[in-house]
Symmetry: C2
Subunit: 378 residues, 2 copies
């Protein structure tokens, strides 16, 4: 029986829910990123207040510090982070592949040096599952290879075959049947490889299907084109997760093709640098800009988060200018509220058959805007 329940559609957009041992969540949903076990600047009570249902944590970071065994010793990831709802962890692969330091990739796994102390470490499919299982997450991800986007087709193909073998090893390594495990398709923007990856991964008994290797620096148009055919290739009975994405435009585009879950550091990372997302045209601005120094309005008049109901743009501009940590905190809370309210609006619009109107509004606002240039996945 699938843990995913499809409750309704509007075109290819899907309204559903997903069951984990830590609770049920509604889809489409956005997962705030708690890289090292903390969504930067936001405590878990606030996180729940602003509508988050699932938190993402990074296996790589928690594995190195404080260590998965220590997290287990103090009661597991839910007790440790204080987040009682579902927690999804990535496999650690993306961070390891992003390391500038020497790493060696073999069939067995990846040897690399810790960015903290330079110590030699080894990440294998089995090791990744062990770390995630020891942390006690609700949803684990299989280790995949994230190839450089400059690879040629045949190199991509070899990578895909290894990712397939790793996917099977990951499934075999799971010993806790209550921990969900998602498989990941790769293949970059090569249509034939995406199709093959979908066949391979859908052929395995994963609890969910994730799309990896997008929003990693390729043009926005290439990502959208890949999504337009690739999501259809995924099993409709299972949940669809687009990893590391993205802007509100990316999200509405992906939902329109049938994606159910998203994660991205964009709301918090942008917030720390003063960029705030608003339900307006244009859809974002930087509150550090001098023109907001005497602006008595809230960040977004349509928002009811603590930043918007309490403070002016002028005050938040001041906080950033003088380097007060409350500035990044408030902008992060606002951006997460914006994202999570947006997901709620998307869910409601699918329920009421008005998804097209939301889609058109967002696409019109983002016309000509692109935050992708430097990639937005971490």
């Amino acid at each position: 029986m699938s843990r995913y329940t499809l409750q309704g559609t509007s075109g290819k957009a899907r309204r559903g829910s997903f069951v984990t041992r830590a609770g049920v969540f509604d889809t489409p949903t956005f997962m705030p990123v708690g890289t090292r076990g903390s969504v930067k600047g936001v405590d878990v009570e606030r996180l729940a207040e602003l509508g988050a249902q699932v938190m993402l944590v990074n296996t790589y970071h928690l594995w190195l510090r404080p260590g998965h065994e220590r997290v287990k010793a103090v009661g597991g990831i839910h007790t440790f982070t204080g987040w009682k709802g579902p927690i999804l962890s990535d496999s650690g692969g993306y961070q390891v592949f992003s390391l500038k330091s020497i790493r060696t990739l073999t069939e067995e796994g990846i040897e690399f040096r810790s960015h903290i102390d330079g110590s030699k470490q080894f990440l294998s499919p089995e090791g990744s599952i062990n770390v995630q299982q020891t942390l006690g997450v609700s949803i684990a991800m299989a280790l995949d290879e994230c190839p450089a986007s400059t690879l040629d087709h045949s190199a991509y193909e070899r990578s895909l075959e290894m990712t397939y073998r790793w996917a099977k090893r990951s499934l075999a390594a799971r010993t806790d049947p209550e921990m969900c495990l998602f498989g990941i398709t790769q293949g970059g923007c090569h249509r034939d490889l995406r199709t093959r990856a979908a066949e391979q991964i859908c052929g395995l008994p994963f609890d969910g299907l994730a799309i990896g290797g997008l929003s990693v620096g390729e043009p926005k148009g290439a990502m959208y084109e890949t999504l337009s055919s690739h999501v259809d290739e995924l099993d409709r009975e299972r949940i669809h997760y687009l990893m590391g994405v993205g802007t509100p435009e990316d999200i509405i585009e992906a939902v329109s093709h049938g994606v159910d879950i998203f994660d991205c550091v964009m709301p918090t990372r942008s917030g720390r640098f003063g960029r705030v997302f608003v339900d307006d045209d244009p859809p974002f601005f930087n509150v550090k800009n001098a023109k907001y120094a005497e602006d008595t309005g809230p960040l977004d008049p349509k928002c009811s988060c603590v930043a918007c109901r309490t403070y002016s743009r002028a005050y938040i501009n001041h906080l950033f200018k003088v380097g007060e940590m409350l500035g990044p905190q408030l902008a992060s809370i606002h951006n997460l509220t914006h994202y999570l309210s947006f997901m709620r609006e998307i869910r409601q619009s699918i329920e009421t058959g008005t998804f097209d109107a939301v889609y058109s509004r967002i696409k019109a606002r983002w016309q000509g805007l692109d935050l992708h240039a430097s990639g937005n996945q971490v």
Copy 2:
């Protein structure tokens, strides 16, 4: 009519209340410090939740950035900071006297260079009142000279006389009768000068009486001895404010001599460095210490703040170790909660005549401990 109402005593400890145009507050009270218009890491909704009644802001910092005229332009200090309750501002003098850069002191005022851009600035009693009045605070402080503690008696005496003249100029400069104005006694630990300062300042129609020039590096014993005679010299009909103090021990000691209001950066600054205050013996510890890395208990089992009801010492230790901003946030919130709960306990103990028991408990715990060494005023 005095804005201060004495409601009861226990020995020399006083239970009272004070009326401002922004509301009434209960005394003894502790004011969290919002240096640049923000209590570091704590939004005003949380600040109210944890029991704060009055916020302090620093005139020097707000004058330079964003500027008092700008604060007025966007609605005044209450609208700007979001804190609707009483706000007290200092005169700016303490920061200017702390500047390492060149400053010139004359009868007229102090010429100094901004620590931000090196620009020449001038602070006079009238200028300070103007800035505070323009900010729109509930309680302003008169500009005083804060002499170096190494001055000899005659130099101190000259300084005191100028502070007296400045006090009269400050009163004359106030044009908004609804803004409270407090005078300040100086005199270091010279008993005769403290007596003279009390006579001078109490002879003027200030709304409150503040004790300056303590907790600025002198030994704890010298401060306590000065308090033991000096507070008695202050008019009993008016409120007594001990500026920039201090540790819980300092506070209980000062309350025992009749002090009503306190402010200090200690709970937030200590918190940012991992030091947490607890209702226990010993009364503080540093959560960054490796021995807390697997401690599943809360910071303080007797505390109900968001940090204590949600997170373990192990988690907060981890946050500090990896440099997550949530660590300083949680420790600051906890320490402020500790201070404000302590003030509530003090108020209740005066009401019920059990102040002595609280006093003895705190003094016993702090026996031999001293956080004064480097001074704790900012």
